[in-house]
Amino acid sequence: MTDWPGYIGLILQGALVTLELTVLGSVLALVMAFVAGLGRVSRFLAVRALATTYIEFFRGTSIFVQLFWVYFVLPFAGVTLSPLQAGVLALGLNVGAYGAEVVRGAVKAIGREQREACIALNLSRYQSMRYVILPQALPLMLPTFCNNAIELLKGTAVVSLISLTDMTFQAQVVRAQTGSTLVPFATILVLYFLMALAISYGMRWLERRVTRGLDGVRT
């Protein structure tokens, strides 16, 4: 007789690790998206070049390879990270590169007229960005950020390759010990789906909040 409650508990423990990776990875990705995305529209060539290099490198190489580098190669350079740290770093940097282009696109989408109004009102570059451009660009970023966050959630499965006991890793363990394929994989399928759904709804709520007033209805 298989101890299913125990095995499901194991998968749920893995789900917590997946959740942790997703949240921490998203935070890092968000920071990187803004740093590199705003770096891309900087007036300094060196900053633009640095941001572009980061974006192209992390978009252009595989998340697997990036993870292996962070976990297996960095120790040779004297930087040893825990599997969780390595996972968060690789996922955050990878998804942040995609997010950076979202930030850049949204900032560019706020037209010349708004920028000219800022100059005519004598706002500094920082003030224009902080009080005029970004508040209008943010609602444009959210739908794509939602996509990126879901991609990051699903991407967390790769960390099972560096022995981090996330949801996918635990499902493999359960499959090996019970011989059942259907139950563990069906369980994580549903769990991934529910997590993605939660991200989706959370983002939609956020979107409604930040666009409030812009459509002419002040509440």
Binding site: E113, Q114, E116, A117, I119, A120, L121, N122, L123, S124, Q127, Y131, V132, P135, Q136, G213, L214, D215, G216, R218
Partner: protein, 261 residues
């Protein structure tokens, strides 16, 4: 003799091979109301944009209120201005745009208070008090909490005028401020500007296609064509008795198009 507040000296403006302004010189006296008229592409809007530092000049010098706009004195000669200098010079100048350019994510009141609070460090309470006075003057005090999207074009433009006035500039630039409005909304904006002309001693430069308004409002009219001032003078001289053929042709076309003079 009063010193001019704006002295434009032999400026050129090129976009690639296209020369928009070609060795243009002009002066504006403090408190003067000046209307710039002429066909599209004649360079009149470009002058306002250059004065607001939205476009750089390709050559020449501009002096505003005693200081060079695009240059700073350095070792006895003039060097290109840096950000700090431009920031200081922009304090003297305000601009109202054809398409209002209000901040859509901020209510009317916040549109007016944002710049004084950020650039002059005015406290919120004081900024709001002054903003309400200005909104009252343009007849928009009752819409202080409305969002720009809820306003008509004429209302938006009146808010934009209040927003520019909140920084108390010495010089105000009006760039075709009624061109984007439905005809029935033009008058409410023009009324605000008439009021400004009477109640303040601001220097005002106006680019417009409203010839009747230019005639009543301006102390002096400049007629532009192909980047040069073709003719200038008192409104009556320009509109009743233009000397240059190009001015006559332009005014004939404008009248034929149904604009009253």
């Amino acid at each position: 003799m009063v010193a001019p507040i704006i002295r434009i000296d032999n400026i050129t403006k090129r976009y690639g091979p296209l020369t928009v302004l070609d060795g243009l010189s002009m002066e504006v006296l403090p408190g003067e109301k000046l209307a710039l008229i002429g066909p599209s592409g004649s360079g009149k809007t470009t002058i306002l944009r250059i004065l607001m530092t939205l476009e750089a000049i390709s050559g020449g010098h501009i002096e505003v209120d005693g200081d060079q706009l695009y240059h700073i004195p350095k070792n006895g000669s003039l060097a290109p201005a840096d950000d700090r200098h431009l920031h200081r010079m922009r304090e003297k100048i305000g601009m109202v745009f054809q398409h209002f350019n209000l901040f859509p994510h901020k209510c009317v009141l916040d549109n007016v208070t944002l710049a004084p609070m950020l650039t002059k460090g005015v406290a919120r309470a004081a900024a709001e008090k002054r903003a309400m006075e200005l909104l009252d003057m343009v007849g928009m005090a009752d819409k202080a909490k409305s969002m720009p999207a809820q306003l008509s074009g004429g209302q938006k433009q009146r808010v934009a005028i209040a927003r520019a006035l909140a920084l108390s500039p010495k010089i105000m630039l009006f760039d075709e401020v009624t061109s984007a409005l439905d005809p029935e909304l033009v008058e409410e904006v023009l009324n605000v500007m008439r009021k400004l002309a009477v109640e303040t001693d601001m220097t005002m430069l106006l680019v417009t296609h409203e010839m009747g308004f230019a005639h009543d409002f301006a102390d002096r009219i400049l007629f532009f064509d192909r980047g040069k001032i073709v003719e200038e003078g008192k409104p009556d001289e320009i509109f009743r008795n233009p000397k240059q053929e190009r001015t006559q042709t332009f005014l004939r076309k404008i009248i034929a198009a149904g604009h009253r003079v």
